[in-house]
Amino acid sequence: MISAPDVVAFTREEELEDDLYREPPLPEEYSVPLFPFAGQGANPWAKVAGSKFTRDFILISEFSEQVGPQPLLTIPDDAKVSGTFDLNYFSLRIMSVDYQASFVGHPPGSAYPKLNFVEDSKVVLGDSKEGAFAYVHHLTLYDLEARGFVRPFCMAYISADEHKIMQQFQELSAEFSKASECLKTGNRKAFANELEKKLKDLDYTRTVLHNETEQQKKANDKGYYTTQAIEKANELASVEKSIIEHQDLLRQIRSYPYRKLKESEFHPYEPECALDRADVGNDQDLTASDPAEPGETHLYTHMPSYTPKLIKAKSAKCFDKKLKTLKELCDVYFFTQTLDQLHHIERTFRGDVCYLLTEQISRALLKQQSVTNFLFEDVSFLDEKPPEKQYRDCQGLSQDAIDEKCSEESLAPKVVISLGSYKSSVECVPIKMEQEMEDSEEPKMSESVMSEHQENLDYLDADIKGSISSGESIEVLGTEKSGSGLTKSESQASLPVIPSPQAGRSKVGSRRTVSEDSIEVLSTCPSESLIPEDFKASYPSAINEEPYVDDDEGGLRFTPRLNPGVDDGQDDISKQESLVQVDAACCIGKESPSFLEPLPELGQKLREEDGVVRIPPQPYRPAEQGLRGGFPSHDGLSGGLLPYELDSRYLTGSREVSKSSLDECSDSMSYISSAASTCSDRTPSPAHLACAAGERHRKRAGQNALRFIRQYPFAHPAIYSLLSGRTLVVLGEDEAMVKKLVTALSIFVPNCGVYAKPVKHWVTSPLHLVDFQKWKLIGLQRTVSPAGVNVLHALSRYSRYLSILDADSKTLRCPLYKGTVVARLADHRTQIKRGSTYYMHVQSILTQLCSKAFLFTFCHHLHLPISEREPEESVVNRRINFLKLQLGLANEDIKIVQYLAELLKLHYIQEPGQGGNPLLRFDYVPSFLYKI
């Protein structure tokens, strides 16, 4: 697999460019237009060109009540990264889209100030002037001294590549939610401490005041109160009220629903870490105790050493007061945890988006191959799932499968409704069928997820560009709200159910079988085909019909709706699509005003308009557009490709779209937000768990393997031995050399189970039969001592189970290999230079082998007779024919597939609890001695 960066290397050759210029110039019509930003040393695929910063970074800024929006810190903390990029300006931008309406104060009908545990808001915005695009995560922290007790903050992931932001929205959202959760947890703890201190102060003040009043009472025997006494009494009363208020606040902050934290995978509380960091310089209370203890009611346990102060009657809320820093707000431990998490985010999303996407796709695909992926892949990162479900996942997504999933995995009543209505909607074309359709019509399209994915990028792209061209420097592309509600809003019920005239058509198109169709989908609502009928109809109006639509702060709120079937389908192919759908949905917000009157007769027109918006205006993508144009267009969609003036409505919408009240969201608990929130909660981005160590190991193993196949002419039989399950012993005196060879060859060793590869790097004692059962690749020490004689004796005794690669004398003793698979796997004249590339090459061929083995294993009639009378021989014949003709395997390649099939069988029939004895399978075949 050659990814784009490999090709980039060639484009950068400067001499080549010079030569190009020295040549007599080509006629104008034949010359290839140079990439406009080539002069800046950027690759033509990068969109970084216009930006003022060198790479992606994370910015934390605050809307300070004193000075307004200000940047606090960047990650990485390096001035070079942000370069000339104006952080202050950008902070202003990103904070200006904030709509934190977190109301703290006295709500009507309540005696005490009320804390609202507001959800974070997630916004994507672009700044075409700066060439910056950002995922912005707004959060609110509590500060007793702040106005309304709240301090709005935001964390932004800023990149020059809007694709990255859009496509990684889910992942970014999930990761930033973790960081935010960590910050907020620390903040709650600190806030509670602060409140406790304040309460002590108040208590102390009250005692003092009380004493003073008593003294005055005693001193005063006139029978009436002096003004001084009345003042004191008033003061005392206000202090007492304040105590009650603060106690109530403390109760509220402690009653925060911690279960939410427990559900999430991210636990920022590691006691050992806490202890490690306890000595980090701080001026705060630093108790390493678990703050997430809602049951803790004792007020003064935390601060035994605190000496209360007298509080002035009037607290000064002035500008000369210094606000707390973020570190002080969040408790040092949690602050460093958050920084770690942010650094982690920065690391994982670093680099070109194609790497991220490739990795995500390959992971998604790998998860799909639940039956075979254990053979050659490192499956440790894959979630454990019950095997039957795994299998179902790889059966392709039939309609039924989705239905079943809905009923299985969603407990919310909403889903039950949707299931029923979904079934009742007859027009629904099963996805499976569509895929077939797709196959027959457009083989190119169905070739890979990537291509489809790429298609979707275009729409997003078009979408964005369309709005950018309006001249606005900042457009909010979409917001996402991760509320936790499930019930649909009451306003829904009153809505007239408007039958969508496009129902039938959009059904077909909604799975993006043909590129133009997806325009439709994006324009109406994400994954319409999977949204139940009643929701579908009311969906567009639901956006506007929120009860607070006339509220200034409320405005328009959009949250993407995922279809229930795939919202947790991280492991299947539809995940990729759903990601895109979410991304797409983020862009929809600005168009939603067009649904203000979603009249049935207007449907067609709207659809066309929406399609138009997605016309990519950018000129440097002609190839893709051409490709898209090549697809058979759906009826009524030809207009969608024509250039079109933007409707002014889109622009008006784009300004208001971000204004959404979080409180209202969480209160009304719209059904729309539920899907999105469950999705974002449950979707830990799988791509970011890749450990760098594994990467490095792969690279090294690939490099060593390349060297091996170039150096040893008998690499093929050696690799064949490994693939067919015959233990290969690498014999040598030098430990380092043997280990290097073992590392190189280890990439060809199939796993026997989900555990580590059966590779033993270095053994010094004589081998035994049990070793061959356990290990398939062994590095063995050769010594001249008597013990060494024993080692060699054992080797010759068990020679029938072994292939022996002598690293010292460069010989190999193993069975003959005459197949073709290994030749493709290990071509010594390969042009591949890099270890990681070769590793990928090996993986792809091994995956092919795996799929063959899978077919072979799970074809019923290849192993069992069709009828009872059928003799065993005909089954055997059928099996051999299948291997030879259908799978196109020759000679020894059959043995490889048979061995892999045995491993698959063993893996599949193995009961979960059982360890299972490893089998040793062998053949009585003669061995040959290969020499260089």
Binding site: R392, Q395, H863, L919, V925
Partner: protein
């Protein structure tokens, strides 16, 4: 001098292409006993502890004996009144006999009233009793009541027991073969008397093996290589073969054999038989003695590098032997093609190995032609896995073979093809059980 026939790595006829190593024992594994039918493939190898394995899975670990186990016998009783239970009786050098329940793995009863080590156990299924042979012969019922016993016979004790018709048993006591008869006593229904009927003193050395061929004959073998065929009804000697491997068959090779002769080399280690032949493991060699012809019809003088410890006849004319050298070999009894024109038959060198001197071989060939066996044993495969002496093996028909060894391991040898298809069957069963098969359609 290596005259052992070897076979290359290509073994087409060897069906055992899959093995499973079972670990668990801490000492030499001496016995393997099949408990019930082949259905569940259980094996019971024993040393200090008892184990039951089922397809490689350890079922029970039986602890009880403090010394090594000397004899073991399965006792499946079908009383009619009681539910059928599989029992195992084990005798040990700690002078105890323990009865175990196979299904629960629990110790049923322990008897420790023996004066000497019980060296052999025999179950008389028909009479629902079992016998223990040590320095005396005791008769027990399944509830472990001592029914009767003989007087003290010798210090050496009974080394082997075999059941004969008419409620008789033959016991090998040193050089003597003693026939006992069990008769119902007059006192009670459960009472038995045991009477010594006859003493046979034809062997010149200790009887090392004793096997019953059919209802009419049984065979004994001694340490000096005598093989005597007895009539099981009147206990008369039907035929005997003394030193049959050298004097009678190959007089010319005799001196050579004599030179290297040692008690170990000539002792009849193990006997097995089918209806027409007796197969004897003598020293390093295997001999096939035909009962009708009363002569050795085929032999392999040096079948292994060291003593053959156990041989067994398979239904398909094959013979498996295991030896102290750690290998198991599979032989096939083939009819020798008579080639009058060719003085040296093709199988000749195979049979004798390649190391033999040519001049002698030619001579021997001519003599061989006159009284040559009509069959020969051809090596069709060998199983190498154990690193030490293979004590015993158990043949489970098409299921495979279990071998036990002094290297503390038990190895199950299986037919890879068959196992593969069995796994496929299991796979599709599991698919059907999980309901995954429906989705596929």
């Amino acid at each position: 001098k290596s005259s052992v026939q070897t076979i290359g790595e290509e073994q087409i006829q060897n069906p055992y292409t899959e093995l499973l190593v079972l670990k668990g024992h801490q000492d030499i594994v001496r016995f393997l006993v099949q408990i019930d039918g082949c259905r569940h493939f259980p094996i019971l190898p024993l040393i200090f502890h008892d184990f039951v394995f089922q397809t490689g899975e350890k079922l029970h670990e039986l602890h009880g004996h403090t010394h090594k186990i000397t004899a073991i016998a399965p006792f499946s009783s079908s009383d009619g009144t009681e539910e059928e239970t599989d029992l195992i009786i084990t005798a040990s050098a700690d002078r105890t006999v323990i009865v175990w329940d196979c299904t629960s793995g629990r110790q049923v009863q322990k008897v420790s009233c023996f004066h000497s080590t019980v060296k052999c156990l025999t179950v008389l299924q028909r009479l629902n009793v079992w016998l223990s042979g040590g320095s005396d012969l005791c008769v027990w019922n399944r509830k472990l009541d001592l029914l009767c016993k003989t007087s003290h016979l010798t210090d050496a004790g009974i080394s082997a027991l075999v059941e004969l018709p008419k409620n008789c048993v033959a016991a090998a006591v040193g050089k003597e073969l003693i026939i006992f008869r069990l008769s119902a006593s007059n006192t009670g229904s459960e009472g038995w008397n045991v009477l010594e009927v006859k003493r046979l003193v034809d062997h010149q050395d200790n009887i090392s093996s004793l096997v019953s061929v059919n209802d009419l004959t049984f065979v004994t073998g001694s340490h000096v290589g005598e093989l005597i065929v007895w009539d099981a009804l009147d206990w008369t000697k039907q035929a005997s073969e003394c030193n049959f491997w050298d004097s009678s068959v190959h007089p010319d090779v005799q001196p050579e054999i004599k030179l290297s002769q040692s008690p170990n080399e000539t002792s009849v280690q193990h006997l097995t038989s089918d209806e027409e032949c007796v197969f004897a493991a003598v020293g390093k060699g295997i001999y096939v003695y035909n009962l009708q012809m009363k002569r050795v019809i085929a032999c392999q003088r040096t079948a292994h590098d060291s003593s053959v410890l156990h041989i067994e006849k398979l239904p398909n004319r094959q013979l498996i032997s295991c030896s102290e050298d750690g290998s198991v070999r599979i032989w096939e009894l083939r009819e020798k093609q008579q080639l009058p024109a060719e003085p040296v038959p093709t199988g000749f060198f195979n049979m004798w190995g390649f190391g033999r001197a040519n001049k002698q071989a030619n001579q021997a060939a001519k003599k061989m032609l006159e009284n040559t066996p009509m069959y020969f044993l051809e090596l069709v495969g060998d199983l190498i896995g154990h690193s030490s002496a293979v004590q015993m093996f158990l043949y489970f028909g098409e299921l495979g073979l279990a071998t036990c060894s002094a290297d503390h391991l038990i190895i199950l040898w299986k037919d890879g093809e068959r196992e593969s298809s069995l796994r496929s069957l299991a796979l599709f069963k599991k698919l059907a059980r999980n309901g995954d098969l429906q989705l596929k359609l």
